[in-house]
Amino acid sequence: MIQIYRALLIQAFQQMAQYRVAMFLYALFSFIRPIIFLAAWLAVAESQGGRLGALSSSDLAAYFVITIVVTHATQAWDFFEFEWEIRQGRLSPKLLRPLHPIHYSITGNILWKLQTSLAVVPVAILIAITFDARFTTTPSHLVLGAVSTALGAALAFTFGWVFASVAFWTTRVHAVVTLYQRAAFIFSGQIAPLALLPGPLLAVAYALPFAYMLGVPSDILRGGPDIATALLMIGGQVVWLAIAIGVYRIVWSAGLRQYTAVGA
């Protein structure tokens, strides 16, 4: 398996080399939105004397700076690519190969993130300095945060494939994905640190998977929760990842049956 991944990585690297400029530009999207909401929350905090509950302005800055990196690390975009592949008839040849198409996607995903992190990390540092971010991260936060980010990325990626599989049934994946993304917008921790979501919303956020993709790893990396809480959150991520993989398997095999039955 390792050799296969090595070969796939090299292939993906060569393909991406042609789109280098576009690739870095699309990384822009991971840091524009965190900056926007950071600025908004700082304005709110200022009107309240520089604090919002347990969070100071510097804590807010730290949270959103971290979300720049985590947003980038947990991005998944297969739902758009997959529909395009089906429409262009590019999926069938891929299915004939002895390797599940998800592996191409995993390597492409990892490689894109590695390369564009060259642009994203310096921007995150610049923003951290501009907004005077203060991190309370301990080494154990860092370790748990890294694990949590990896789990978050896996979760987002798996859900990405669940929604990609929708393309087996309909050509209107875009509409479905918009609903998914807007739910993430509210509940994942994009627009506010989870702690700032008003009561009922916070409960919903913890019940849904979105917070485990972005808000949870970001909080841990910032050094927000204590270790016990962090471990509990990671437990939540594991549960959601198991559910996601289960759902993905069911949806994928059902979708594949549908696809081959239609004979596209």
Partner: protein
């Protein structure tokens, strides 16, 4: 002039027919717009759960601003984005020649040929949200403030148009300009909040390089009666300059394309 209006009507009509052929798509697009706008509104409400005033902006004013943001984005996606996108395809495929050979203004043909008619609904949605905000403000819209709103909004749209025209014109020299436009799309998102909440460098980018800040913030202030005559005059001046510069640049690009300036 009359003729250009008739042409515009024809362009819109044909594209509208096309949009109406795909009813399910249309319904889904509308659903998406409502969901996107609704969640954005929810984000503003969450912010205002913690404060009455944000950097001098009340909830009502902020909702007005969000409404204006969707109006601006709607107009931009209604005609500018589809037309300029098509223009770059024309340059790449060599079909721009057909447009240059038509006995009407090439700039007109390039800028207003294609419409995503469904985006009209985004403009309407923006108007509705603006109305909601005004109701919350209990603001009385006077003739003056409505006029200032319409005028500054028009100026803002022309500013954005001028920027997009300049960026698209670059296609005459460089083939891959789509990438430059991608930066614009990434930054336009920032228009959903007043420009004055952003720190120095970002505010300057938003108000000058990517004038979406001006295009959204100023009209939103204007309808709430918060803009003075001087600002309006300044915006008008900036718009006039941007318009002339972009037009000159377009002509220069066209001359390079036809080999007149070599």
């Amino acid at each position: 002039m009359d003729r250009y209006l008739r042409l515009l009507r024809l362009f819109v009509r044909t594209e509208l027919q096309f949009a109406l052929e795909y009813r399910v798509n249309l319904a889904l697009e509308i659903m998406q717009m409502v969901v996107v706008a609704g969640t954005s509104l929810a984000a503003v409400l969450i912010l205002f759960a913690y404060t009455e005033v944000m950097n001098g902006w009340t909830l009502g004013q902020m909702v007005v601003l969000l409404g204006v943001y969707y109006i601006v984005q709607g107009v931009e996606e209604l005609v500018m984005q589809p037309s300029f996108q098509k223009f770059m395809e024309h340059v790449r495929d060599g079909t721009l020649d057909f447009i240059l050979l038509k006995p009407v203004s090439s700039q007109f043909m390039v800028s207003f040929r294609h419409f995503q008619t469904v985006q009209t609904l985004q403009v309407l949605l923006g108007l509705v949200i603006t109305g909601l905000g005004l109701a919350q403000l209990a603001a009385t819209v006077t003739l003056t403030s409505a006029g200032a709103f319409a005028f500054t909004l028009a100026c803002g749209l022309v500013l954005i148009y001028a920027l997009l025209l300049v960026l698209s014109t670059l296609a005459f020299w460089f083939v891959r300009v789509d990438n430059i436009l991608a930066i614009f799309w990434a930054f336009i998102d920032a228009g959903r909040f007043p420009i004055d909440i952003y720190p120095g460098w970002l505010r300057i980018t938003m108000s000058t390089v990517i004038p979406v800040g001006i295009a959204v913030t100023v009209p939103a202030k204007a309808i709430a009666g918060l803009v003075d005559l001087q600002t309006v005059g300044l915006i008008f001046l900036a718009t006039a300059v941007a318009w002339m510069v972009s037009r000159a640049f377009w002509k220069r690009g066209l001359r390079a394309y036809t080999g007149a300036s070599a």
